[in-house]
Symmetry: C2
Subunit: 433 residues, 2 copies
């Protein structure tokens, strides 16, 4: 007779519904791979009345509005948290681990806030805590970082971690359209939320960047440690300049370790067209990893959506269930050592600066002198437009962010500079080959 | 006190040397992740005299020329096979498994020949058999297929699985150069072997394609089941036509399951420029996976080289060592069910056909009639050149390979067709979005 492992689900919305569908679809294969039949025995939701409307192949009476009841139920062997939010999700997961129940979650917000701590609680309890779906949906990235690269040293992670903003930037660049216009379209098509702040402001990407940084560098990076700029200020001009210089504009999360300090930042960048991340279009996500021995790796796929995310959750469920049956634990994270966060001022990179200027002799020399005074050297500069629409486009050599910011402050104060229209970082060094 | 697990190495060449280097480099991190210190205690090589020349941080007396002694040594807990070849590697691995020792291998030839059988032997012995490095070097692809997608259903795998041929095709396309010329360059630069047959003939890619097909579709596909065509016949004209029509030419391995029959083939294809695989340049490898729930995924990185391959081997070693300590086993492959192999004649795809023809009225009509007579419909046709160098370029609609082959036979027999210069498959349907 088959063994049975019983799953308790916290939440049954977009992702939870997909999990139930997958678990009840591929039963034979999943049973073979797990070594036990997986059965969803309890599901917590907010609204019981929706239950019958969910159209899922589970009986009505598995639903409850009390998520604690799911966690505490002695019949529940494995807890899957797909309700979202910090609270009560965090407390419920802690309690499940305390009870010796492995936990699978898709909750990026929570893992960014408390992942290493929850992982340690799981380690203490001798069970698994898995969160593959929390970063980049269907793309296996947690497992490669934890397992495949366990004998290697990761030096940098660069990810396109938010589908909505990548969709908007793709459309802006392919249609030459402006931000507001494309955002409105994306909202109409359901690619962007009515309140798009979490996406376009880079908050969602920052949570994922924090998770990747913590895991890649065996430390604790919170979302609030991640320097963050969104895409709302990107203009059609920026995209045109980028294209002309051989770049595309992408919103990326970058985590790196330099001299034992961890840098983690989310902002739009100029990325060379030859870079593997440059061809990631529409709502796709991708994570590019550099490791000392493995070299350059990239992982590409769908970062969200009911079934892609559910696929990642169920992969984790099979994993933790299999380990539970063997009273074993899955791959370990290294000890999370405290490491200093590198302030953004210490970043060294190239910059693109667009200035609206008075169209008069000497302005270029004045601007160049301001850059030079702050130790920022100019790689390329040209004027666009004339008269009232005169603009200077500048690309700097590698400079310190702190120096660049002082330069920008000084530029803004110049009488013949009307405004600093754009400042974007240029990542020329993340080359594929 | 730390526990110690003792590694026996079969082979210490390119990959083996890298494994020793990695294991002796990141000792603390590896110990933390494994839960035990990993120590290389025995190494089999052919030539003991090379031992001191290897410059590796192991003492001379761990080397032996008797690989059996490594496997049988009661001091060896984990066996790492990096000697290559079917024999004696296969027998040594079987024996190690019999002795209850987990095995890690990078041997694509052997895994393509006997992977599922070795996996079953490992299952029977209750230990792990891991082979991440056997396909696409540093790229995690075995683990994602086995673990991340364990709850999903893979429908197609398309891989750029050979670095040498991808390098040659990239150079041909970027420099407009011909095959022989680029091959000679590649040999001079060490990107291609003196005898390039295994690479350019598609044999190496076919072994990897067999491994991917077996794993993706839970069955047994041998390298000899894989339909195979190499790149030696590709010309600068083919690349020019491809470019003009929005394609690149890549040597790919494609595995798919249609109606319970598994197709596995390695050959050059026209691939749309927008496809994520199209931007994989130089010696990089990539594997594109379609799964029902996860959608489209791609995994990109270095397919060979001492350190990239060693990184994958050591990731596996940590995994199997950790499981050994817990008397557990890692992720399971599903039962390998026998499935029919779909003959290439049943393939349905589009084709590009280049004909050298007599430059006279009626030849196009004659050619079109020949296609029509065999049930192959033409999507696009035009003439290039004139007089003695007149050529017809044709792109078909989707057709059955069997019908296309009969068409080609009939074309070759036509008096006004001087030769069938090229026939290549066009994969328009593997779109990213
Ligand atoms: N959607 C995606 O594409 C995606 C991708 C990656 C990760 N994630 C993550 O997956 C998690 C779930 O996302 P989702 O899109 O599935 O959210 P969702 O559609 O809003 O579903 C949330 C579910 O949790 C239930 N729930 C919420 N608060 C509850 C409470 N206090 N008590 C009981 N039940 C409660 C809701 O009940 P009702 O059904 O009764 O409202 C609903 O079933 C989030 O952490 C999200 O960040 C989502
Ligand atoms: N090289 C790559 O980039 C790469 C990438 C992926 C997978 N792989 C796979 O990894 C495996 C090893 O490749 P490699 O490039 O490291 O090969 P290699 O450089 O030729 O090394 C082979 C090693 O095995 C030893 N050896 C061979 N036959 C032996 C025997 N009968 N008894 C004892 N020792 C024996 C050799 O001894 P001596 O040193 O004394 O000659 C040598 O140390 C192969 O299966 C290959 O397909 C290689």
């Amino acid at each position: 007779m088959d063994r049975v492992l019983r799953i308790g689900l916290l939440g049954c919305g977009t992702v939870g519904g997909g999990v139930v569908t997958l678990l009840s679809g591929e039963v034979d294969d999943i049973t073979a791979r797990t070594g036990a039949r997986l059965e969803v025995v309890r599901i917590a939701v907010r609204d019981l009345d929706k239950a019958s409307a969910r159209g899922l192949p589970v009986s009505r009476d598995v639903f409850t509005t009390d998520p604690s009841a799911v966690v505490e139920d002695p019949d529940v062997d494995v807890v899957v948290e797909v309700m979202g939010g910090l609270d009560p999700a965090g407390g419920l997961i802690r309690r499940a681990l305390e009870l010796g129940k492995p936990v699978v979650t898709a909750n990026k917000e929570l893992v960014a806030d408390a992942g290493p701590e929850l992982y340690e609680a799981a380690r203490a309890a001798g069970v698994d805590f898995a969160y593959e779906a929390a970063v980049a949906g269907a793309i296996p990235i947690i497992r490669p970082l934890k397992e495949s690269l366990a004998g290697d040293r990761v030096t940098r992670v660069v990810g396109i971690l938010n589908g909505t903003t990548n969709y908007i930037l793709t459309k802006m660049s392919e249609e030459g359209a402006d931000y507001a216009e494309v955002l409105a379209d994306a909202q109409r098509l359901g690619y962007a939320e009515a309140d798009p702040t979490a996406d376009v402001g880079g908050h969602d990407a920052a949570a994922k960047c924090a998770i990747l940084a913590s895991l890649a560098f065996d430390t604790v990076v919170h979302a609030s440690d991640v320097f963050r700029e969104g895409i709302a200020a990107i203009t059609a001009t920026d995209l045109r300049v980028a294209d002309r210089l051989g770049y595309v504009v992408k919103l990326v999360g970058i985590a790196s370790e330099v001299d034992d300090r961890v840098g983690a930042r989310v902002h739009p960048v100029f990325l060379p067209k030859e870079h593997p991340l440059a061809s990631v279009r529409d709502a796709f996500n991708a994570v590019y990893v550099e490791a000392e021995a493995a070299g350059q790796l990239m992982f590409y796929g769908r970062g969200a959506g009911a079934m892609p995310t559910a696929s990642a959750v169920v992969g984790d469920v099979i994993d933790v269930a299999r380990n539970l049956l063997q009273t074993a634990r899955g791959a370990a994270e290294s000890v999370h050592r405290a490491k200093a966060i590198r302030p953004i001022e210490d970043l060294q990179t190239q910059y693109y600066v667009l200035l609206a200027v008075d169209d008069q002799a000497g302005v270029l020399a004045d601007v160049a002198r301001t850059f030079g005074d702050h130790g920022v050297s100019i790689a390329q500069v040209w004027q666009e437009g004339a008269g009232d629409s005169a603009q200077l486009v500048l690309i700097t050599h590698r400079a310190r962010e702190g120096d660049l910011q002082q330069t920008v402050g000084a530029l803004a104060a110049m009488t013949n500079v009307r405004s600093v229209a754009s400042v974007l970082r240029v990542e020329s060094e993340v080359f594929a080959s």
